[in-house]
């Protein structure tokens, strides 16, 4: 398991990427993260909903109610145009960060 505080700053990117692919609901996202990382990283639900709140307030994502399952309506999230632009920025930023950190980490071990 990766230390979650390192990934913490990139949760926006991870979640936005998943919502960009298609509209998703909370549990689906946490499941998808575990699945794709082969359980090397698991997001805590509490953290996930905090991110939703923050992104929704900034109008980076928007929520709507979808189909009913197991006694409740699922709340789906979709990415807004602003969110897409934001994600683009995050991608650029990440490649830069990666290069910078690699400058110091590569060749070691």
């Amino acid at each position: 398991m990766v230390r979650s505080d390192i990934i913490r700053g990139h949760l926006d990117s991870i979640i936005l990427r998943l919502i960009l692919e298609k509209d998703r609901y909370g549990y689906e996202i946490s499941q998808e993260i575990s699945l794709r990382t082969n359980n090397r990283f698991q997001i805590k639900e509490a953290t996930l909903y905090a991110v939703f709140q923050r992104l929704e307030k900034k109008e980076i994502i928007e929520a709507y109610f979808g189909d009913v399952s197991h006694g409740g309506k699922r709340k789906y999230y979709r990415i807004t145009p602003l969110g897409k632009a934001y994600l683009n920025e995050l991608v650029k930023e990440w490649s830069e960060v990666k290069e910078i950190i690699d400058l110091f980490m590569e060749g070691l071990e």
């Binding site: 609901y25 909370g26 549990y27 499941q31 698991q42 805590k44 639900e45 509490a46 953290t47 909903y49 905090a50 709140q53 923050r54 307030k57 399952s69 197991h70 006694g71 409740g72 309506k73 699922r74 709340k75």
Partner: protein, 151 residues
Amino acid sequence: MVGSKGNYRLIYGGLRMKKIKNHIDELFKDFPRNHETEMVKQEIIQNLEEKVFYLMDQGKEEEDAINKAIVEFGDIEDLKQELDVKEPEKRNMSRLNLEFSLWGSGLIIAFFIFINIYYTPHTIWAIYPIFAILWWPLAMYFVWSRKKWSE
């Protein structure tokens, strides 16, 4: 399609829902009580339910599934920060309202007493409008003390 397993779920779903709901209520007890919090709570409960169903499909016992879902939920502090947006403090006007009502009703009462004594000193009628007017400061006192209680 609701099979026999589905029926079982429908019957016991309420109970399970209750345990998750109680836990979430407990976690959220210090949160500001408003529509937003309520919506997030609903969403979380719904998603936890779904997780429990998923875990049960994987062969977990219901009790285990619920406990796992609850344990894995994590630390609520982040969410608290997101929801605890300090609303621009509404200034408490209830005290001012009370004072205004006291002065206002005092003046009106004095006016009635004056008219009563000056023009019809032998019939006491001012007591009736005075009684009616007293409801004003009384209501304001009620609002004020209710505010004080809720703080």
